[in-house]
């Protein structure tokens, strides 16, 4: 119930912020929503893993980076459009994710949380340094015609392609909700997240479910890796900030709260865009999310003390 209230608050704050900003500085709304979509689409799979497997995957953004590199080389070698690489990248990354899960994370499920954090942090470093060694730190980019499509409304002119991430994030959240609440496997996953022992008692293979959920999350982030090529250049460290932002968004939303991630992403995206809209504040844009997190955690602890 606490989660429902928090979602409602986050969504309401997001809407209020959006309305205020839309009237005052429309570009902030546009760019803010575009990055919100990207943030949410990347954070949702991390939230899925945290909510069900109860692992904070600090290599989350690095999985996306690895998938982006694989897609990049596949696309440049074959001349394929990154959009066509989305599904293959999802499938391959799911396999890779399952392998990594079986070899490492699975063995740490019963370890103290600190050990789990060190493990996934180690994976993150291994991935980014591995890519660095193999392919150098050079930035790589695929030029695409359609991503520069822009729309002009009155005096306003902006790129429309990044809105695709808003749809992807919405589809991901809605699809996962349907999966978790309507299918037998999804319900089993939800049950495992809420009570693994109870799940085993009713015949659910908990270990297999963890593997499945981890593979599903890495599939989503793998697809995002290919899609990411349409938005940005890549380099070995490109995933790191997304790990941090995803973690913060998931923490703001609360464990297992996927709609809350959408709300938190809108709040973060709009705040950043707002800071960027002012020349003097531009440098602060990357810090704003730390401020938001501290505000949320502070608010929560004050509320906790009251009750």
């Amino acid at each position: 119930m606490a989660i429902k209230r928090r979602t409602a608050i986050l969504v309401a704050l997001g809407i209020v912020a959006a309305v205020v900003v839309a009237l005052w500085k429309p570009t902030v709304l546009i760019y803010g929503m575009q990055s919100a979509g990207l943030y949410a689409a990347i954070a949702i799979p991390m939230g899925l893993v945290l909510g069900i497997v109860h692992i904070v995957n600090l290599a989350h953004g690095e999985f996306m980076m690895v998938a982006a590199y694989a897609s990049y080389f596949a696309c440049t070698a074959s001349g394929m459009d990154p959009l066509l690489a989305v599904l293959p990248a999802a499938a391959v990354t799911a396999g890779f994710g399952l392998l990594v899960y079986k070899l490492t994370i699975r063995r740490a499920l019963k370890s103290p949380e600190l050990n789990q954090l060190i493990l996934t942090f180690g994976l993150a470093i291994t991935f980014s340094q591995g890519v660095n060694l193999l392919f150098s730190s050079q930035t790589r980019k695929i030029s695409l015609e359609y991503v520069s499509a822009s729309l002009t409304i009155g005096e306003l002119s902006f790129g429309v392609w990044p809105f695709v991430f808003v749809f992807v994030a919405g589809a991901m959240a809605y699809g996962l909700k349907l999966f978790l609440t309507r299918t037998t496997t999804g319900k089993a996953a939800l049950a495992v997240g809420q009570n693994p022992r109870g799940a085993a008692i009713v015949g659910i293979d908990v270990d297999r479910t963890y593997g499945l959920v981890f593979a599903l999350a890495t599939a989503l982030i793998g697809g995002m890796g290919a899609l990411f090529l349409t938005r940005s250049a890549i380099f070995p460290g490109v995933g790191g900030p997304f790990t941090m932002k995803s973690f913060s968004l998931v923490a703001m939303a609360g464990i297992g709260n996927i709609p809350g991630i959408l709300g938190a992403s809108v709040l973060l995206g709009l705040s950043e865009a707002l800071m960027r809209a002012f020349r003097g504040l531009r440098g602060w844009a990357d810090i704003i999310f730390f401020v938001l997190i501290m505000a949320v955690i502070l608010g929560r602890s004050i509320k906790g003390r009251k009750s």
């Binding site: 009570n195 009713v202 015949g203």
Partner: protein, 234 residues
């Protein structure tokens, strides 16, 4: 025999809890009695594969089960109502009940029929069908846990303190229902409420300090001086 446990030893870390327990359940209803900490829950956890036995054998319908993973024990046809309930608090009554049957080959095909039986047994669950289980009272959650286990259409139903937190009238009713169920299902039940449960069982074991100290029919236990003084009270 449906369940045949021989010389079962188990414990936690260095603590030995079960010291060679042997018991069996046929097409009948069997009670496990004993003081707090005697090892009743540990016996059940060993049968369910929740704790790994140190020694001894567990046979269920002719198959050796000791050390088998919990979900496989459940799929083989043993359903458990745990002492701590172990429900899915953020899911509805409907989903909790459905999950009781969804992964068990014996339960899945007749899920609709079992659901009817369960809702008839606990009408309150029908009223609260869409409510989150985590927001229900302890006694109501106990009913969900019993209902969830029945959904599996088990060959053996194990209940660990089923009357814990239930009001006396419901306890009586639960045991009446269990007495009816035992026609089709074998039952192994632990209970502090010995008097009430003696009505529903055929035989019982008294466990003390991890060993069986007494085994008798329900009628025999009811008049046994040790049982009368230690468990029935006057």
């Amino acid at each position: 025999m449906i369940l045949d446990v021989k010389k079962l030893e188990a414990g936690y870390g260095k603590l030995r809890v079960l010291d060679g327990i042997s018991l069996s359940v046929g097409k009948e209803s069997v009670g496990l009695f004993g003081p707090n900490g005697a090892g009743k829950t540990t016996i059940i956890n060993a049968i369910m594969g929740i704790v790994k036995p140190w020694g001894g054998t567990i046979e269920f319908e002719g198959t050796r089960m000791e050390g088998m993973a919990t979900h496989l024990v459940a799929r083989a046809g043993i359903a458990l109502v745990p002492q701590e309930r172990e429900l899915f608090p953020g899911m509805s009554v409907a989903d909790n009940l459905e999950l009781g049957a969804a992964w068990v080959p014996r339960g899945k095909p007749i899920m609709a029929r079992q659901l009817e039986t369960v809702l008839e047994l606990f009408p309150i669950l029908k009223e609260r069908y869409r409510q989150y289980v985590g927001t229900m009272s302890g006694g109501q959650q106990r009913m969900v846990a019993i209902g969830r286990a029945l959904m599996a259409n088990p060959a053996l139903l194990i209940l660990d303190e089923p009357s814990l937190g239930l009001q006396p009238s419901i306890v009586a009713e639960v045991f009446d229902r269990l007495a009816l169920l035992k026609k089709d299902i074998s039952i192994l039940v632990t209970e502090q409420n010995v008097r009430e449960s003696l009505r529903a069982i055929d035989r019982g074991y008294v466990i003390e300090n991890g060993a069986v100290v007494l085994e008798d029919t329900a009628a025999g236990l009811a008049v046994n001086p040790h049982v009368v003084s230690a468990y029935l009270g006057i």
